[in-house]
């Protein structure tokens, strides 16, 4: 599942480019999780405004 990291120069972007799994984990961390957090905040706000 995880291949050994063998790039000439170790880099965050090299890790990102290792395969579909690392990319998926990364995109979920930076897009999906913050959106869930924003969703909860906005929901609480809408309920307060009712």
């Amino acid at each position: 599942m995880f291949e050994p990291f063998v790039d000439v120069v170790p880099s965050f972007f090299g890790w990102l480019n290792q395969g579909p799994l690392t990319l998926t984990i990364f995109l979920h961390t930076i897009i999906i999780l913050p959106m869930i957090w924003i969703y909860k905040q906005e929901k609480a706000r809408l309920e307060r405004e009712e």
């Binding site: 906005e42 809408l46 009712e50």
Partner: protein, 217 residues
């Protein structure tokens, strides 16, 4: 119980879009600096001390370059070996080698090599990919192209071909005579030798297996 759904709420989408756009901008700026660091050219000291750079310094023309399979990375990588004469010399200074590469680079642009060839992924596939052309066994001591030009070294054979391409039947699409002078040809060969020493993560794919194609069936 809220009557209004969060999904139809403007603020939710605005904040999400602002976050994603902002983060992507930061990431792209970071990527720019990360890339510049990785593609910066090495120097003579790096070569002497065996420091591996993706793009070695210009004096790499003083060294023998081979293309070897790296099983860990799953593709061939250029390996810089011991000294090797280039047009009879292996003591080009950083300035001389740099000037030669510069001449070759300008020559490749003036003669529009990329109209037909590919250099480091840019150009066309009408004619062979030149990214690793220096390593092509056909230009080597046993190679058919070196034999064709009647020269004894890789660089002399390539330079001879570049000056009189229309004399040598190579490809079914023959290279036209571009009026390349002896000095320009020397620069172009230096430029190609340096280019072949760049670690391109195995690009072009399968170049290491070219033996079969060159001495085709």
């Amino acid at each position: 119980m809220a009557n209004k759904s969060v999904w139809s709420d403007n603020r939710f989408w605005q904040r999400s879009a602002a976050w994603v756009t902002g983060f992507a901008s930061v990431l792209l700026i970071w990527l720019t600096f990360d890339t510049s660091a990785q593609i910066s050219m090495g120097n003579d000291a790096d070569l002497k001390n065996g420091v591996t750079k993706r793009v070695p310094g210009p004096t790499v023309i003083n060294y023998k370059i081979t293309y070897e399979m790296d099983t860990k990375r799953g593709h061939e990588v250029p390996v810089i070996g011991g000294k090797e004469k280039f047009f009879g010399r292996d003591d080009y200074s950083e300035e001389e080698a740099g000037a030669l590469l510069h001449l070759g680079k300008l020559g490749s642009q003036a003669k529009n090599c990329m109209d037909c060839h590919t250099l480091l992924g840019n150009g066309a596939y009408y004619a062979p990919d030149l990214t690793k052309s220096w390593l092509d066994p056909a230009w080597g001591p046993e190679g058919s192209l070196q034999a064709m030009t009647g020269k004894n070294t890789r660089e002399e054979a390539m330079a001879e071909f570049l000056q009189h391409p229309s004399q040598y039947p190579t490809h079914e699409r023959m290279m036209p005579n571009l009026g390349i002078t002896a000095e320009e040809a020397k620069g172009l060969v230096a430029f190609l030798k340096h280019m072949s020493s760049i670690d391109t993560n195995g690009f072009p794919r399968n170049f290491g297996k070219i033996q079969g194609a060159v001495h085709g069936k």
